[in-house]
């Protein structure tokens, strides 16, 4: 079976005067469907950049990238956005909920970009609110929630469109340990249900939730 993600000699660099500053060097790796992969490494190693490339948020790199057998390196921006919408959900360290929208409206955003009818969207949001036990919070604004609650909403937002892959960039970085554990348990549960998860973390504890660790150092694969 073909892996969900196949990277072959991925490189990313910035022009710096007469030379180039590399952020990623010759990254070659596969991620199979259903895996829970942890990317680790020191600050500046290129972890978040790699995650952005996997999530189609970054289009300026070289090499070959296949996602679900589709050659991303040959696709236009619009086609990459389509893959993002169809397969990928994001969770960020800083939650990145939209301040002036309620919990309900924040959950509705990904659906609104997927041409889903209003009535169906409403049903999906209610399902997720119920599934994540946050029905009582649906009319609150992010500023009225604790960090853990905000990240819970962010995870709910990431899964609402039923993605095959969740990309999590230090999802527990701003949470205290109990909240962090709750979120990691949630990822584990989602992974058990079949969702592929790729997380970036500094935490050895969080890395234990996954079944494979990829180490990056100065842009290179370290293992």
């Amino acid at each position: 079976m073909e892996p969900m993600i196949r990277l072959n000699n991925i490189e990313k660099y910035y022009e710096a005067g007469y030379g180039k500053t590399f952020v990623l060097r010759r990254i070659t790796l596969d991620i199979k469907e259903g895996e829970f992969v942890t990317i680790m490494g020191p600050s500046g190693a290129g972890k978040s950049t790699l995650l952005s490339i996997l999530g189609m948020l970054d289009g300026s790199w070289t090499g070959e990238f296949y996602f679900a057998e589709q050659p991303v390196h040959k696709l236009h921006t619009k086609q990459r956005v389509e893959i993002n919408k169809k397969y990928i959900g994001f969770v960020f360290q800083s939650y990145h909920l939209i301040d002036n929208l309620t919990v309900y409206e924040n959950l509705d955003i990904p659906l609104s970009y997927r041409n889903i009818k209003s009535a169906e969207r409403s049903g999906l949001v209610c399902d997720v609110l119920d599934r994540f036990h946050i029905v009582g919070k649906k009319d609150l604004y992010p500023s009225q929630l604790s960090g853990g609650q905000q990240q819970l909403v962010a995870v709910a937002r990431a899964v609402i469109a039923n993605p095959k892959l969740i990309l999590a960039d230090e999802p527990t970085g701003n949470l205290h340990s109990a909240q962090g554990k709750e979120i990691m348990e949630l990822f584990k549960k989602l992974n058990d249900e079949g969702t592929t998860i790729v997380q970036v973390t500094h935490s050895e504890t969080n890395a234990q939730y996954g079944n494979r660790i990829i180490n990056l150092a100065d842009g290179w694969l370290a293992n």
């Binding site: 952005s52 948020l57 990145h96 909920l97 301040d99 955003i109 970009y113």
Partner: protein
């Protein structure tokens, strides 16, 4: 006549005294006491009466532009205040009181305003001359006194200080009311959405004000265009007129005056290039008018208050002026004092007084108790013409053959007209020479083509349209800048949000739609508010409009569409910038 009233004498007292004087006047042969009307008009009223309302409207338009510009500045100050919350918090933490901070901010806004005022004054050195050059010649009293003087400097200074303080107040208030802890914790960032309501309200107000001005300009433009295409009832092309006044001292009798007119007409008719020549005492658009009523034969009553113009004309006048003879005949030289009295009526008189009948052969008189020789037979019907102005309704008219007129003041001022095959101004010298040949002592009162008279008649509406058009264009540009400013600031503030949305699947079109939808909402609110305002305000223009209602729906819709398009264009730049937000950068911005 000019006079200065004695101290303590009121206008009404002077009016009563003048009327008594007129009643005691000794009349000359052919003069009728009812032909004299005495009226006292204050000189100031005489000078400014016609332009007062017009100038007030322009002053209002300038006020609107000032408000729009102030709204823009207030928006900029609000944006700046949002970016300085942390600075204000630090200053507060260091011991600055709120009043002290507000003083600092108000000083800054006043300095900006004063700088704007100074720049405006510099611009006005050129702008005043440009505006004055648009003004119709001789129609705005004391225009030669318009200049930048001490009063203008003081007014500009005053307005700059007041607007600086008034429009700096809200931003200063906003910038200093933040909670200390909250502002310090921002760490250099600004809070999205703060003051957004106020900024939106300012832009909506700008759009509304611009719409009011644009609607006014649109109505004036439509009115002016209609005026340009109006049929005056005569053909003004290739007609040159020369007005001559005969002095009472030399021309003391009607036959003497008529002899002068005959000699002039004979000479003019023989000038090379002249197709036909004629004369009239009340030239169309000439500014002079004689109106009055008359009696119908058979004791038929006249419609109540029905008055007609009473020009006296020469044979050939209608052909010269291009006024169509619809029925009957023109006057001839045989229609003189020894022939039975005849008149020609305009079409509206014939229709009004003899509906369904032929007016030819009907008889009218000016006398209350007419003798047989006082009856005048209608021998022709001509087209109605717009005698007093293109914007005025065509006047009903009763034309008299000048050789049968005995009233001296009807004959004392006559406009001679020639229709030429080519440029009529080529005949100007020849016409002057003809006058010198007939009476070398007579000056030409006015020499003008009919086209010039039409241009002069439309000069004021043209000036009003240009001025209001220029003001509304400025308002439109300022409003567009305002919309651009608010949206550009909003996009900068929402970069992070846009990045999140793109990470969650928003495409270029979604982001574009998000920003432009806001543009349209602002524009829509402004247009709705402005339309309501315009409905109320454009009524003051009613007096200046020709054939256009102040509530003309076509103009209102056209202006709304124009403003919406300009708003969209102004919003497009920030919207496109929003679509170029790099989600990676935006999310790391956190």
């Amino acid at each position: 006549m000019l006079g200065r009233l004695n101290p303590g004498v009121s206008q009404s007292q002077a009016q009563a005294e003048l009327e008594t004087f007129v009643q005691r006047l000794t009349l000359r042969p052919g003069e009728d006491r009812n032909d004299f009307i005495a009226r006292i008009v204050p000189l100031k009223e005489l000078l400014v009466r016609d332009v007062r309302e017009s100038l007030l409207i322009f002053a209002g338009a300038v006020g609107f532009i000032l408000l729009i510009a102030c709204a823009n500045v207030a928006n900029l100050l609000l944006a700046r205040a949002a970016g300085r919350q942390q600075e204000m918090a630090v200053r507060t933490a260091l011991g600055a009181g709120r009043w002290r901070l507000m003083r600092q901010l108000l000083t800054e806004s006043t300095l900006v305003s004063l700088a704007g005022g100074a720049a405006g004054l510099l611009l006005s050195l050129w702008g005043v001359a440009a505006l004055l050059s648009l003004a119709p010649e001789g129609q705005i009293p004391r225009i030669e006194l318009v200049r930048i003087d001490g009063w203008v400097l003081a007014f500009t200074f005053g307005v700059s200080v007041i607007t600086g303080i008034v429009f700096g107040l809200a931003p200063a208030f906003q910038a200093t009311k933040r909670e200390l802890r909250e502002a310090l914790s921002l760490g250099g960032r600004t809070l999205t959405g703060r003051h957004e309501g106020l900024r939106n309200a300012l832009v909506v107000a700008e759009i509304a004000l611009a719409l009011v001005l644009l609607t006014g300009a649109g109505l004036m433009l439509k009115s002016f265009l209609r005026l340009r295409t109006v049929n005056p009832g005569f053909r003004p092309e290739n007609v040159l007129t020369m007005t001559v006044e005969l002095p009472d001292a030399v021309y003391q009798t009607a036959p003497r005056m008529q002899a002068f007119h005959q000699r002039m007409l004979a000479r003019l008719s023989n000038l090379p290039g002249v197709l036909v020549a004629g004369a009239v005492n009340l030239s169309p658009l000439g500014g002079y008018l004689t109106r009055g009523d008359f009696q119908l034969e058979g004791g038929r009553p006249m419609p109540h208050g029905y008055m007609v113009d009473k020009p006296c004309v020469s044979p050939g006048y209608f052909r010269t002026m291009g006024i169509r003879l619809l029925r009957g005949r023109d006057f001839t030289v045989r229609d003189n004092a020894s022939a039975p009295g005849v008149v020609i009526v305009s079409q509206s008189v014939a229709r009004r007084l003899w509906p369904g009948e032929d007016a030819i052969g009907k008889r009218v008189t000016e006398e209350n108790h007419p003798k047989p020789e006082d009856w005048l037979t209608i021998v022709g019907v001509v087209d109605d013409i717009r005698q007093t102005g293109l914007a005025k309704d065509p006047d009903p008219a009763l034309y008299y053959p000048y050789l049968q007129v005995s009233r001296l003041f009807w004959l004392g001022r006559m406009s001679f007209a020639v229709r030429t095959a080519s440029d009529p101004l080529r005949l100007a010298t020849a016409m002057r020479a003809a006058l010198r040949e007939v009476d070398r002592d007579l000056p030409v009162q006015r020499l003008a083509t009919m086209q010039d008279l039409i241009l002069a008649d439309a000069a004021e509406p043209r000036f009003q349209t240009r001025l209001l058009g220029a003001f509304s264009l400025l308002a439109l540009i300022l409003a567009a800048v305002g919309i651009y400013g608010v949206l550009a600031y909003s996009v900068t503030q929402r970069t992070h949000e846009i990045g999140i949305r793109m990470a969650l699947g928003a495409e270029t079109g979604d982001v574009l739609h998000m920003v432009l939808r806001r543009t349209l909402m602002l524009a829509g609110a402004g247009i709705a508010l402005g339309a309501a305002g315009a409905l109320a305000v454009t009524r003051v223009l009613a007096k200046f409009l020709f054939d256009v209602k102040p509530t003309d729906p076509v103009t209102f819709v056209a202006v709304a569409v124009l403003l919406a398009c300009v708003a969209l264009a102004a919003g497009l730049v920030p919207a496109r910038r929003a679509t170029r937000v790099d989600p990676m950068v935006a999310l790391r911005y956190e």
